[in-house]
């Protein structure tokens, strides 16, 4: 097909092109080379993490004093070994499991809770809005890193507590975005028209608000995944997230820190993974944003 097939105010003579909104978004996304490449890389990393036992060349916990801190490209250890002689490639693949879990799941939980709060605040307005949004503003007073450290420190170290801490950190920004988008949409005439046709609030939210609000919230949340991964790594680095035997990129970065002078390239590998995934999510969310942004 030619480049421009999706234009506003199509002339009356155009044939019926019945393509859904998401169909259009998907088609535009497919034309975005950068976003597509990012999606591909992220998918590859995700699949490798999921199927780690099948993909990884070695046992992630098998240590060997003799093989400590081998350089990249050593025979049998493609990406070298860490300070306990464990295979880096294996640990990077296994580390993806926890790191992606800590990156994605807090954002998903926060997406559900934050959108709910934000949409209700935006749609109902008035005192309800004030109550919800001012409470959320309290959380905004703290820098997100500090808040995450404080909450998971208070709850105690561990993956579950770190997840809770990160979820709490991400609810306020998502709720804020949800509230502002909902307030905007609520003022449009089609919502008034829906109300004038006698529809109840939940029907209006379901049919008319959600579809117009979830897109921007989703795009924003996608960009938070990278932040979440970095924060999770930070928590692990501080000893508040994952515990030592487990493989997790932030924790690996922490333990390899001592080897930064002897094997700098090996020590940098977990950081590189975090970087790739964060950049991937950021660029993908940028692509998603522009793919969704055509009609206005």
């Amino acid at each position: 097909m030619s480049a421009v097939t999706f234009e506003r105010g199509a002339p009356g003579a155009a044939p019926a092109r019945t393509q859904g909104y998401w169909g259009g978004v998907f088609r535009r996304l497919r034309r975005d080379k950068v976003a597509l490449a990012c999606a591909f890389i992220l998918l590859a990393i995700l699949l490798m993490a999921i199927f780690a036992p099948l993909v990884a060349p070695a046992d992630p916990a098998k240590a060997s004093i003799l093989k400590r801190l081998l350089p990249i490209g050593s025979p049998g250890h493609l990406l070298g070994t860490d300070e306990l002689g464990r295979d880096m490639l294996t640990r990077l693949i296994y580390g993806g499991r926890l790191s992606l879990l800590m990156g994605i799941s807090p954002v998903v939980f926060a997406l559900v809770i934050g959108s709910l709060l934000g949409i209700v605040a935006g749609f109902v307005g008035g005192r309800v809005n004030t109550a919800i949004m001012r409470t959320i503003d309290v959380f905004f007073a703290f820098p997100s890193v500090l808040l995450a450290v404080a909450i998971s420190g208070a709850l105690g170290a561990g993956i579950a507590n770190a997840l809770i801490a990160l979820t709490i950190v991400f609810i306020p920004p998502i709720a804020r975005v949800a509230e502002s988008v909902t307030t905007q949409v609520r003022g449009l005439d089609f919502v008034e028209a829906a109300r004038a046709s006698g529809a109840g609030s939940w029907t209006i939210i379901r049919v008319h608000i959600l579809g117009n609000v979830l897109g921007p919230i989703f795009v924003y949340a996608t960009s938070l995944v990278s932040v979440s991964m970095i924060l999770a790594s930070g928590l692990s680095f501080l000893g508040l997230g994952t515990k030592p035997p487990d493989a997790e990129w932030g924790l690996m970065l922490n333990t390899l820190r001592t080897a930064i002078y002897t094997q700098p390239w090996v020590a940098a590998l977990p950081g590189a993974m975090i970087f790739i995934v964060s950049i991937g999510f950021n660029l993908f969310s940028d692509g998603l944003r522009s793919a969704m942004d055509v009609q206005r």
């Binding site: 009356g12 044939p15 206005r296």
Partner: protein, 340 residues
């Protein structure tokens, strides 16, 4: 035509005030008198045009009628039953019987819904089965001149402004309303498209036996579609009457000023001077007595002291001006004898 003497829609002393929000620490701000004691009636099958400057309360009146906002005072009766009053007509039933078409054709359609889904939404909400609602949507599309096979599955951004407004009209008709309120419904369209949509509206009215309330700032359009015209100024009705009377022989100085500002095709009759100077006064603190007196060339002391009532000068023609009311005391008022 008039089997029953009672008008289809009766509006009595409708009042809406918007308190000014001054934030948490600035309580007791002013109150905007958006609609201040508006009364009128609309007969079955007629078109009532409402004209006035921006901010005079036209749109607020429309929104009050369909209860998008709640009135502070006053009553609205549809078929003699008071809306939202126990024993009267429930608000939801009234909403079904009175539908609205808005000015912005793009904002009034959900960009994520197909044309068909937008039109079928209302009936579905009222419990019409899915297939029936879709069938009704297709019928309505045909009625508004859009071939369902080509347009039903389209999204709003794939339509032109005129097509979108036709969809909005179809959507308003989907609940089989008795009264359709057209709030500047054709104002945003090109002149040629506007004419097509106007004619469509007139055809639909004849076909379906509709009653229109037609709100516009375009006096030519109002003259073309209306049977009667109501002129509003600062939340009040200043004049109401048959379209011929209003356009030929307006009694209120504000109406005269509005009409003299109407663009004319005849170069010999172009207006020379702006007939009305300045903006309308602040609705937070309207002038005492007659609200128009600050811009009225005939204002006298009386106008500041006493508010003119909406008095009937002739059958069906009512004017809120001391000059039109016999015995009001205004120097230009007709002698009292005529009234008796």
């Amino acid at each position: 035509m008039s089997a029953i003497a009672m008008p289809l829609l009766q509006v009595r002393e409708l009042v809406k005030r918007f308190p000014l929000k001054g934030g948490m620490f600035a309580r007791g701000g002013g109150v905007v008198h958006a609609v201040d004691g508006v009364s009128f009636g609309v007969d079955r099958g007629e078109t009532l045009g409402i004209v006035g400057e921006s901010g005079c309360g036209k749109s607020t009146t429309a929104r009050l009628l369909v209860r998008l906002i709640d009135p502070d005072d006053g009553r609205v009766l549809l078929e003699g039953r008071e809306i939202g009053h126990p024993g009267g007509m429930p608000v939801n039933e009234a909403r079904r019987a009175m539908q609205m078409v808005f000015q912005d054709s793009f904002a009034s359609l959900n960009p994520r819904l197909t044309v068909e889904a937008s039109i079928a939404f209302g009936p579905r909400v009222h419990g019409v089965a899915d297939a029936d609602a879709r069938g009704r949507a297709h019928d309505l599309l045909r009625k508004v001149g859009l071939e369902p096979g080509r347009f039903a599955a389209r999204y709003p951004h794939e339509l032109s402004g005129g097509q979108r407004q036709r969809v909005n009209i179809a959507r308003a008709l989907a609940l089989a309303p008795q009264v359709v309120i057209l709030d500047e419904a054709v104002s945003a369209l090109d002149k040629s498209v506007e004419a097509q949509v106007l004619n469509l509206l007139l055809d639909l009215k004849a076909d379906l036996g509709l009653t229109y309330i037609f709100i516009s700032h375009d006096l030519n359009v109002v003259q073309y579609v209306s049977d009667r015209v109501m002129v509003m100024y600062l939340g009040k009705v200043v004049e109401i009457g048959p379209v011929g009377r209003i356009y030929a022989d307006a009694a209120h100085p504000y109406t005269k000023a509005l009409l003299s500002a109407m663009p004319t095709m005849d170069p010999a009759h172009r207006t020379q001077a702006p007939p009305l100077a300045g903006d309308p006064p602040n609705p937070i603190d309207p002038p005492s007595g007659c609200r128009f007196r600050t811009r009225c060339p005939f204002a006298e002391d009386l106008c500041a002291a006493r508010e003119p009532v909406l008095g009937e000068t002739e059958a069906g023609h009512r004017v809120a001006c001391h000059m039109a009311n016999a015995g009001s005391g205004h120097s230009k008022a007709p002698p009292l004898a005529r009234a008796a």
